[in-house]
């Protein structure tokens, strides 16, 4: 039925009017981003949230960036190659057997609430981390017991290790010092303030919390009278860490000036934004290795010839292509920035003839097997490596089944020798520059950890690792680590991949950016930044 409607224009008019109303509200609302006051607030556009701030419970790149901004540790990594700088500790002594470490604290250090940072605070912080036994606890828990931390006087603290541990100092930058009074004031039950510390801080660092909107943004406010002072002429008023999860949004925000630094763009995007006016890209070699771990304890990858065949069939150049040249192929199991790194001779590169020769020697001379390639779901580069693997192993008649898993599920798979997949894509960043931090990944005690899913077994190598970590003399240690690198390379427990460059895109007025490869992928030291406008 059709009705002749004379009045219908009324309705249409109403609709148009409503549209106009909406229009007036919107026009002009996309205003440019402005900075408040005389000082500048820097905006960092990151993809990863900071769900848990407590330094005793968690660390990853975004979390640690915030922890580093709000807390101080005894020492701090800076520069490339990284050096350990005195921080809360002005100096330290170590016994010859590398068992007793004594630190002398700065006298003017104070927490954000004005309390002094004293030896007791240091002792409490180490004790808390060790007792909670999460986050960084594993780094020292084998050598340091809570009782081993001793307050000598107001400004001196002594660590007595249960056995010699040469790399001790290299882990300390990640052990942040918290204000015992604040933490314990918020204790619930016997949680040692864990709940409160999730979204609050009790530190002495250059910044403190201003706004903490989970899932949206985190705003830090600079501490004007930071005890260590500010290196730059015009320190920042604060930093906003804005969660921008999409690459397109990150780029747009950077272009519009709504963000000053962004991380995590695709290799292509970095190349694109680098060409835009007013934007520069910091591009540095990092310490994060990418490798594809084999499970050497289970067939078929227990066959060294198969491992070598796969390693020689792999197209290493693909890494460079994926990163548009912004990566460096590994020349040793150790990252370049690790102390004692050597270029291992005859390090595997693509060579199909060799690959076929190795395959012929293996139990699977004609291929015909399918290997599982497990990677972290959502990690673009790992996914692409998988596709490269499929492509590269086709000539060997080896199939690849790509299995993306969430990080937890992947870790669960890798945690048992029986379930650990044939191949597992792993990005690993050593937490310290000391070679032990990498070498130990090949020790039996690392089995089942995410970097130990290869279940690599070589008594000789294990012995060397143990020997090296107990010695306090670098001259003694260096040749051992060279030996270790060669032996591991020979056993080919993984495809030794590459070290991708770390890149950040930022507005060109951002000054004072200091890179240090020991930091994690997106992590930036906010302390030294300034806006040069």
């Amino acid at each position: 039925m059709t009705i002749r409607i004379c009045h219908f224009p009324r309705l249409v008019t109403a609709l148009v009017f409503a549209g106009l109303l909406v229009g007036t509200l919107v026009v002009g609302s996309a205003q440019a981003f402005e900075r408040a006051g005389e000082k500048f607030i820097l905006v960092f556009g990151g993809r990863q949230p900071v769900p848990l701030l407590d330094p005793s419970q968690k660390y990853d790149w975004s979390t640690r960036m915030m922890q580093q901004a709000m807390y101080d540790a005894l020492v701090k990594y800076e520069n490339d190659p990284p050096v350990i700088k005195p921080w809360l500790a002005e100096s330290w002594d170590v016994s010859d057997d590398a068992k007793v470490w004594t630190f002398h604290l700065a006298k003017n250090a104070k927490f954000h609430n004005g309390d002094p940072v004293n030896a007791e605070a240091v002792r409490f912080s180490f004790e808390r981390t060790l007792k909670i036994n999460k986050g960084p606890a594993w780094m020292l828990s084998d050598f340091l017991k809570p009782e081993g931390v001793k307050v000598v006087d107001e400004h001196t603290v002594r660590f007595e290790l249960s056995e010699p541990f040469a790399p001790f100092l290299s882990f300390l930058p990640w052990w942040y010092v918290m204000n015992p009074a604040q933490v314990m004031a918020h204790q619930e039950g016997d949680d040692m303030g864990q709940k409160w510390m999730t979204d609050n801080e009790a530190g002495s660092g250059p910044f403190k919390i201003k706004r903490w909107e989970q899932g949206v943004l985190y705003e830090l406010e600079a501490v004007p009278d930071y005890w260590k002072g500010w290196p730059q002429k015009k320190p920042l008023a604060g930093v906003i860490y804005k969660l921008i999860r999409e690459a397109a949004s990150q780029k747009a925000a950077l272009q519009k000036g709504e963000a000053d630094i962004v991380e995590g763009l695709s290799p292509e995007d970095f190349d694109i934004v680098a060409k835009l006016p007013g934007i520069k890209v910091e591009n540095h070699a990092g310490m994060t290795t990418f490798g594809i771990k084999f499970n050497v304890s289970q067939p078929p990858m227990d066959d060294i010839n198969l491992r070598k065949a796969v390693a020689h069939a792999f197209d290493y150049e693909a890494f460079l292509k994926i990163y548009n040249g912004n990566a460096k192929l590994q020349t040793s199991p150790f990252p370049f920035a690790t102390q004692g790194h050597i270029d291992v001779p005859n390090f595997p590169r693509r060579d199909m003839a060799k690959a076929k020769a190795y395959l012929a020697k293996s139990k699977y001379p004609n291929g015909g097997i399918e290997l599982e390639y497990v990677y972290v779901q959502g990690l673009e580069e790992e996914r692409k490596m998988g596709l490269v693997l499929i492509d590269n192993l086709k000539p060997l008649n080896i199939g690849i089944k790509m299995v993306p898993l969430t990080w937890p599920n992947m870790k669960a798979r890798g945690s048992k020798m029986e379930t650990s997949p044939n191949m597992l894509a792993i990005f690993a960043t050593p937490v310290a520059t000391d070679p032990d931090a990498v070498a130990f990944q090949y020790h039996k005690d690392s089995w089942g950890k995410y970097y130990g899913t290869h279940y690599y077994s070589n008594e000789e190598v294990w012995g060397l690792i143990e020997k090296a970590r107990k010695s306090s003399s670098w001259d003694e240690r260096a040749p051992i680590y060279a030996e270790i690198q060669k032996k591991i390379t020979d056993d080919q427990p993984e495809i030794f991949g590459m070290l991708a460059n770390r890149r950040w895109a930022m507005r060109d007025y951002v000054k004072g950016f200091k890179f240090s490869p020991v930091r994690f992928t997106g992590e930036v030291d906010l302390y030294s930044l300034e806006i040069g406008k």
Binding site: T2, I3, R4
Partner: protein, 335 residues
């Protein structure tokens, strides 16, 4: 004969409706007139076009798909054949009122009786000059008055009732009240009692009869039930397949039916007094109006049909005074 000028006069009215299957020739040269104050009934079986005739005349049949092919309609001295929507609406609102078959479905279930009644009163008021329009108070009063006019008990209370809270008879009374809102000259009742029980039907028929007499308006009753029509009307028009076959006073029609269809119809009705021993039925079925029979549309079912009936459409002839029949037999043309 000194008849008063007819209130409604339909002349040679033809209507077609296009459908998926083809064009339905729904009405074919209808003639019908109603004098002021006269009660006329239209009877016929399903699909004979009795309902669509009046709906079309008052502009309630959407066009397209419907199309007036020929003919003219005059109402109260004005030609309204091709009047525009506004005029028709004015007439519908003011001078012609309609009531329908199923009082439940013809009332909006979501609005109170009072609201619907007031809307109707207001709509009719809008057609008047500003000065004569009622204010809210007197609209309410008018609504109450109308409801009491149709003998609805407790009119004030019923205004707040929703249609579903009323019985069928009460709903029909409400519809009649709405029809009376504009003091119409003509009331069209389309199957007004078909959905009602016999005892309620009697009440409504009484009411209509009473109103017609009291208010002096003309009424056009459309029904398939000859009894209903006979109870109210002075004159009856019999329709078959889109044509008027017979038009006579009630008395003449029952006493002396002329058209074979009328006679067949009367013979098919079972009688309450048991006087009909066996029922005669009309052979065959209603024709398909996409391709209606040539000539007399009744001829395929007519026992008395001759060649002329197959060829020519019979003209409507006044056999006796006021008794019109459209049949070749009475025009002497059967052969």
């Amino acid at each position: 004969m000194a008849e008063p000028a007819p209130l409604l006069e339909i002349r040679d009215y033809s209507l077609s409706i296009s459908t998926f299957d083809g064009v339905l020739k729904v009405l074919d040269g209808i003639n019908l007139s109603i004098a002021p104050g006269e009660a006329v009934g239209i009877v016929g079986e399903t699909g004979c076009g009795k309902s669509i005739t009046v709906k079309s005349v008052v502009g309630l049949v959407p066009s397209p798909p419907a199309r007036v092919e020929a003919g003219s309609v005059r109402f109260d001295g004005r030609d309204i054949t091709s009047a525009d929507e506004a005029t028709i609406r004015r007439i519908r609102g003011q001078e012609i009122a309609m009531i329908f078959q199923d009082p439940m479905t013809y009332l909006n279930p979501l609005f109170t009786v009072g609201r619907q009644l007031r809307d109707v009163i207001q709509a009719k008021d809008r057609l008047k000059p500003q000065s004569e329009r009622r204010d809210k108070r007197s609209i309410q009063a008018k609504a109450v008055e109308l409801l009491s006019q149709v003998h609805l008990p407790n009119p004030e209370r019923q205004l707040d009732a929703y249609p579903h809270q009323l019985s069928g008879g009460m709903r029909q009374r409400v519809l009649i009240a709405m029809a009376l809102a504009g003091a119409p000259k003509l009331l069209i009742a389309d199957e007004p009692t078909t959905a009602l029980d016999v005892t309620i039907q009697a009440q409504i028929l009484d009411l209509v009869k009473d109103l017609v007499e009291r208010l002096g308006m003309a009424v056009l009753v459309i029904s398939h039930d000859l009894g209903v029509v006979a109870a109210i009307c002075q004159r009856i028009v019999v329709m078959y397949a889109g044509t008027v076959v017979e038009d006579a006073t009630t008395e003449a029609l029952f006493e002396n039916p002329k058209h074979p269809y009328t006679r067949g119809l009367l013979a098919a009705i079972p009688r309450l007094d048991g006087s009909a021993d066996s029922l005669a039925s009309i052979a065959g079925t209603i024709p398909n109006l996409i391709d209606p029979p040539r000539g007399c549309r009744f001829h395929p079912r007519c026992a008395e049909a001759g060649e002329t009936c197959r060829q020519a459409k019979p003209p409507s002839l006044e056999g006796a005074p006021g008794h019109w029949v459209a049949c070749h037999i009475y025009g002497g043309g059967v052969g």
